[in-house]
Amino acid sequence: MTASTLERPTAPVARPSAREESDVRRGEARPAWLFIAPFGIFYVLFLIWPIIYMLISSFFNTSLVAKGFGSFAGFGNYAEMLTLPLFWESMWHTIFFTIITTIPLVVLAFVFAILANRVRRAQWFFRLAFFVPFILPSAAIAIVWTFIYSPSTGLWDSLRTALGNPAPNPVLGTPDLALIGVAVTTIWWTIGFNFVLYLAGLQDIPRELYEAAAVDGASQWQQIKSITIPLLGRTTTLVVLLQIIASLKIFDQVYLMTAGGPGTSSQVVLGLVTDTAFTNYRVGAGSAASVLLLIVILIVTGIRQLIERAQNRRAA
């Protein structure tokens, strides 16, 4: 880190004078806005405005099928959500899902990246094999895994029957198993992304460090513990944060594979938001649930910032 600070160019190359620079800036401002406009308009229309709309409607009894925001509800929608058992159940499912996907997705991606990095020949094959599922759309993944999990005739149940369980519980049909089934699907699907990030991080570590360590008599495990893991620290915080946010936003796989079922045993917060706002027409209440999830995600991001600041201080 300190090395790169030193390399920062100190002598400006043909830097324009202050006056010239502000002229250029004034002249560039308008075209700059024009260049940003195509993206900016979509960003405002489809991201900023919906978020503002969500914040406003969460305080109203907004109905999908009635005009305007409806009657003022104060904190009524929030009170409803915070006292609704299904909301807490969905929040727990979301957090539970985040826990059971983030840990394997970080640990396994790390392990597989180290293994793949050691492969001398046909490394491209492993990189491809791990990454290919990630480029498939969630709908395709959901179909494949629903086949695998289908009761009695599916691959998984056939395997369990062959292993001596005559009537295995259907994975997606059993309340305690449904979300785990979705989690396994998700791990298989998205591990490639973290894997690639780790592999890139690994290839950035200078070989000399390992050679020096080997000369000093460090074992393989000591090398991983004292060189690889510390030098991948930043990659790990990035991967963990991205993974936590991605997992908290879980929707597609649950919607497609179980629709939140059986009953509500795999319902997640975004599923609840969609059901409330669009199926039940209650946009106000759905917005409140969405804002609450936003707050959870902001807290996670805030914690990550604090950790990073602490890491920086240690590095400095």
């Binding site: 324009p16 059986p262 669009f278």
Partner: protein, 457 residues
């Protein structure tokens, strides 16, 4: 920093011309691209972009039919297209249940609904109350030679929403009993004509299942218990409604839970006793339950009549269909009707007539639809000799009169939150994972949330 162009500031004209050329060129290329794209990709995208009609003369039609219903509906659509020429119809099929109704609602609100959409009778009331549907008047029906008396009185009656009608019914689809003739023959359950002897009361039912089980070596009857909340609800609601004193589940537009608690527990106990006695499988899903009957591992199979198409496609399977046997006091079975609705939009007289003409064309093909198991709501077909000759479909035509529709509420109807909530719990009872009392109490708690919520309609 170094990336900032080092340009003499005293030459605005040169810069201007280059930039404007670039901008103009990009604009022109973009316009060409869009125009080319539009003419190339067909009229759907351009009509969507400028919000015009798809193609004057085309009827857009949305439905939720899969499986046998889906292919039969496609046959009927093809007949319409053959009559009216190419591009007269654009039909789309969506995933069944809540996702479908969510799409219909959002499309209507977004001012881009189909001309005609299918809706369950139990779902059209909510769409109507939300103001998403065009009322159907006698005048409108008369435009294509129909009137309210063209439909089964019971169905037409059930369609009323605040004294108005918003839908045109095509069928009634009750929950029925399928039986495997080979198995039933060996179990001595058939009469001289090869039809199922009438089963009445729980004793006869269990005796029949015992006899069948001896033949199959596995099960007497099968009904889905896993991954299909609707079936669990249908099986329960059929048996519950057969008992004197069974009140509708919901009252006052869904604000009150009005079910009879003792009868509910009693019914659930009975359903669970059948799986506990191993007369019916505790764990089987929608397709699993029918495979058991198709392959002779159970004699009976309970499901909506629409699965007749699947049963017919099984080589060498001889089967029959009858209404759900009356195990308690009176005949009853859970059911619903498919209807056509006209989502709210600005329609010209022509468009309206075309949409109704399409509906009429499908009603005229009610016999094709009836082959898929559904009991026609269109009287000319229902009374026709051809329908009466249609076996086993016409065997259960009387079920129209004992069909019990789900109670009206903003969260109720086929494939709704109500069915999902209650059905999921009752499924656990069938599987033996929950006691009837525990399941009912969970379902009650979950329903109360909806009942206590201000209706968004």
């Amino acid at each position: 920093m170094t990336a900032v162009p080092q340009r003499p500031s005293g030459n605005p004209s040169g810069r201007f011309s280059r930039r404007s050329l670039l901008r103009g060129g990009l604009g022109a290329a973009g316009a060409l691209g869009i125009a080319g794209g539009l003419s190339g990709c067909g009229s759907a995208i351009s009509a969507g972009l400028v919000g015009s009609q798809l193609d004057p003369g085309t009827v857009t039609y949305w439905n939720l039919f899969g499986g046998g219903d889906g292919s039969r509906m496609q046959t009927m659509e093809a007949t319409y297209e053959k009559q009216k020429g190419p591009n007269s119809l654009q039909a789309a099929t969506f995933a069944w249940g809540n996702p479908y109704y969510t799409k219909v609602s959002l499309a209507t609100l977004g001012d881009a609904p189909p001309d005609v959409a299918v809706s369950h009778l139990t779902r059209q009331s909510n769409l109507a109350i939300a103001g998403l549907l065009e009322p159907i008047t006698e005048d409108m029906l008369a435009m294509v030679g129909l009137s309210s008396s063209s439909f089964s009185p019971k169905v037409w009656e059930a369609l009323a929403v605040n004294g108005q009608r918003y839908a045109i019914p095509i069928d009634t689809h009750p929950f029925v009993l399928y039986y495997n003739k080979d198995v039933c023959e060996k179990a001595d359950l058939l009469d001289g004509d090869g039809n199922l002897k009438e089963i009445r009361g729980t004793d006869q039912w269990e005796a029949a299942l015992e006899a069948a089980k001896k033949v199959t070596g596995s099960w007497g009857a099968s009904v889905a218990t896993v991954g299909d909340t609707a079936t669990s609800w249908r099986w329960f609601q059929s048996l519950y409604s057969q008992q004197t004193g069974s009140t509708p589940w919901l009252g006052d537009g869904g604000r009150k839970l009005t079910y009879n608690e003792d009868l509910t527990i009693k019914t659930l106990d009975y359903i669970q006793s059948l799986t506990k006695k191993k007369l019916m499988p505790a764990i089987t899903d929608y397709t699993g339950s029918q495979t058991l009957m198709f392959t002779g591992k159970s004699a009976f199979y309970l499901q909506g009549e629409w699965e007749i198409t699947t049963a017919e496609s099984i080589d060498g399977l001889k089967f029959g269909m009858v209404p759900v046997p009356t195990l308690f006091d009176q005949p009853a079975c859970q059911g619903d009707s498919h209807t056509f609705v006209l989502p709210r939009m600005n329609r010209s007289e022509d468009q309206l007539k075309r949409a109704l003409g399409f509906v009429k064309s499908l009603l005229d093909q009610s016999l094709t639809w009836a082959q898929g198991g559904h009991i026609p709501a269109y009287v000319p077909t229902l009374d026709s000799q051809q329908y009466k000759d249609l076996k086993p479909q016409s065997n259960y035509a009387d079920a129209v009169n004992s069909v019990v529709y789900d109670a009206q509420a903003w969260y109720s109807g086929s494939g709704s939150n109500f069915e999902n909530t209650v059905g999921a719990q009752f499924g656990l009872v069938q599987q033996g994972q929950a006691t009837p009392a525990a399941a009912l109490s969970t379902a009650r708690d979950q329903l109360l949330v909806y009942a206590d919520t201000k209706s968004p309609l």
